[in-house]
């Protein structure tokens, strides 16, 4: 079994009036099936309200299924007894850098998680140091978090998750509020964790450019998985993506327009480097 497996996963948000009668039910996840292998870098796309965040919260057992089953590293998240282990296995980083830092010193913030699960003190400090080094924030260990930029705060949040030594990290739009440098640093950190430490990464994003280095892309719509494949496969299906309120990377769009205008460019261009190579080849 892979690190994450969902079968017929359903989640309903039920709204009740003041007397407790059901007012409305909205289905956020609708019989979703999904498999993620250990060590993969997965990008999840989908318009606002497509169910991405609801799915993310299941992987961390913040929400539990209404129906169906979700296993994280072989453990059923619906089983109360598994909840703590699931949360150790699957860490979560949210969108707003200001909402997830709690301590007044960076290293204490990172230490919070391992301390909470009873890691011995010496080991806590080892983990804190390693985690901060991995995200490139070691020299800020004694800083106050409010002196950091948005991107730096997000990297501290990632370090906090890393200190739990999870097998999998879910990042729910971690770059939505960041400036260009912050965005680049956070994505680079996520990639490094995946490539060098083998941590499974689930990246939820609205930026198509952040998806191109993923192993696989999942596209969600109305609580279902409607497309999956490599970034190249997914971004070759422009019309379908538009239908789901998504897009393609700008360079793919430009290559497409140039091709239409008569330049014989190869298909599947996603990055600037690829487009430059193709154009240089054409010229030679």
């Amino acid at each position: 079994m892979g690190i994450i497996k969902a079968r017929q996963l359903v989640h309903e948000y039920i709204r009740r009036d003041e007397e407790g009668n059901v007012e409305s039910i909205s289905t956020a996840l609708d019989h979703l099936n999904l498999d993620v292998e250990q060590g993969q870098f997965i990008a999840v796309l989908g318009h606002n309200g497509s169910g991405k965040s609801t799915l993310a919260k299941h992987i961390n057992a913040l929400l539990t299924p209404t129906e169906g089953t979700l296993w994280v590293d072989g453990l059923d998240v619906s089983d109360e007894e598994n909840v703590m282990t699931v949360r150790e296995n699957a860490g979560m980083v949210f969108q707003n850098p200001d909402n997830q830092i709690i301590a007044s010193v960076v290293e204490e913030d990172v230490a919070f998680g391992p301390e909470n699960i009873g890691v011995p003190t010496d080991e806590i400090w080892d983990r804190v140091e390693q985690s901060l080094r991995t995200v490139g924030m070691l020299k800020y260990r004694t800083y106050s978090p409010n002196k950091l930029s948005g991107g730096q705060k997000q990297r501290v949040a990632i370090a906090g998750v890393l200190a739990m030594q999870p097998k999998c990290i879910v990042l729910d739009e971690p770059t939505a509020m960041l400036d260009p440098t912050g965005r680049r640093d956070v994505i680079r950190t996520a990639l490094e964790l995946n490539r060098e430490k083998g941590v499974t990464i689930i990246l939820i994003t609205h930026y198509m450019e952040e998806v191109v280095e993923a192993d696989r892309v999942f596209v969600m719509d109305e609580g279902k998985l409607v497309m999956q494949g490599t970034p190249r496969e997914i971004f070759s299906r422009v019309e379908e993506l538009k239908h789901y309120r998504l897009g393609v990377p700008q360079m793919t769009l430009l290559a497409d327009e140039l091709r239409r205008a008569g330049l014989p460019l190869a298909g599947g261009i996603m990055t600037r480097e690829e487009l430059v190579e193709e154009l240089a080849k054409l010229r030679a």
Binding site: N48, E173, A176, M177, D179, P180, R184, Q250, L254, R272
Partner: protein, 281 residues
């Protein structure tokens, strides 16, 4: 008609150990009917700057003139200024609070002292202009998608009929289609109603595509202030302060290095396409 900032300084917590000079001798003229982008890394002073434009924050020193009137003069109608210069904060949908969309949009004009009927008319007009269909006007704003909620929040400011509309990262967290919808809405408001639009953004591509003038903030000062293609020629300096140029700018420079005779000033997709095609003729 314009907003003029004359030697504006703003210091947070002056006289304490936490003293920070957030704005440093800012001189700017925001002319009527412009579509302006403000960029800068986190903490560069962008938000402090825009909060000065509608009098929400008072400069430590310096003057601000709205249509020639000193906004710090004793007889100046500061409350009126806040409706003439509408400010849409980051994640404005978090500030929706009424039970229906319609009531939420009425809140601003009612607060301006308009009668219920007049406020209602304003709300209708504003909701229509942001492209929300009438069938949802009496629904709860919380039933809408992220992009729709944000449009309700923008309608709430538009209902006050501002002459200047300032938006702090209006597309953050929206899906690509939602992003396009909001930006196109702003372009329409700007073109058809002549509203001055000031867009604070972290997306260099959005700024390159939509605005006619970019103000780059760095450490509380105006670092660059020019048309997009000129600003992005300074892409190395922008990178040094945590910003970047649009993808297209980098592409142009890389193609140049490979010997293609493209115009390195191209910043939008359409410009890139034109100049690349020309290089192959």
């Amino acid at each position: 008609m314009s907003i003029i900032l004359d030697k504006v300084n703003y210091i947070y917590s002056p006289g304490t150990a936490y003293q920070v000079q957030a704005l440093n001798d800012i001189n700017l003229e925001i002319r009527d009917g412009q579509f302006i982008g403000v960029i800068g890394h986190t903490g560069s002073g962008k938000s402090t700057l825009i909060q000065h434009l509608n009098g929400l924050v008072k400069a430590t020193s310096g003057n601000i003139y709205f249509n020639g009137e000193d906004i710090y003069a004793e007889d100046f109608d500061l409350k009126g200024l806040r409706t003439r210069v509408g400010l849409v904060f980051q994640y404005p949908e978090h500030q929706l609070f009424e039970t229906t969309i319609f009531d939420d949009v009425c809140f601003g004009p009612k607060n301006q002292g308009l009668s219920k009927e007049k406020a209602g008319l304003r709300a209708f007009e504003a909701l229509r202009s942001v492209g929300l269909s009438e069938e949802v006007y009496y629904h709860s704003p919380f039933e809408l998608s992220g992009g729709q909620k944000r449009r309700v929040a923008i309608a709430g400011v538009l209902a006050m009929k501002p002459e200047v509309l300032i938006l702090d990262e209006p597309t953050a967290g929206l899906d690509p289609a939602g992003r396009d919808e909001i930006l196109r809405l702003l372009r329409e408001l700007h073109r058809e109603r002549g509203i001055t639009v000031i867009l604070v953004s972290h997306s260099m591509e959005d700024v390159a595509d939509y605005v006619e003038r970019i103000i780059v903030m760095n450490q509380g000062s105006v670092m660059l202030d020019d048309i997009p293609r000129e600003v992005f020629l300074h892409y190395r300096e922008l990178e040094a302060v945590g910003l970047a140029a649009p993808q297209v700018t980098y592409l142009m420079h890389e193609l140049r290095e490979r010997g293609l005779a493209v115009d390195t000033r191209a910043t939008t997709l359409a410009e890139a396409k034109d100049t690349i095609l020309k290089a192959f003729v």
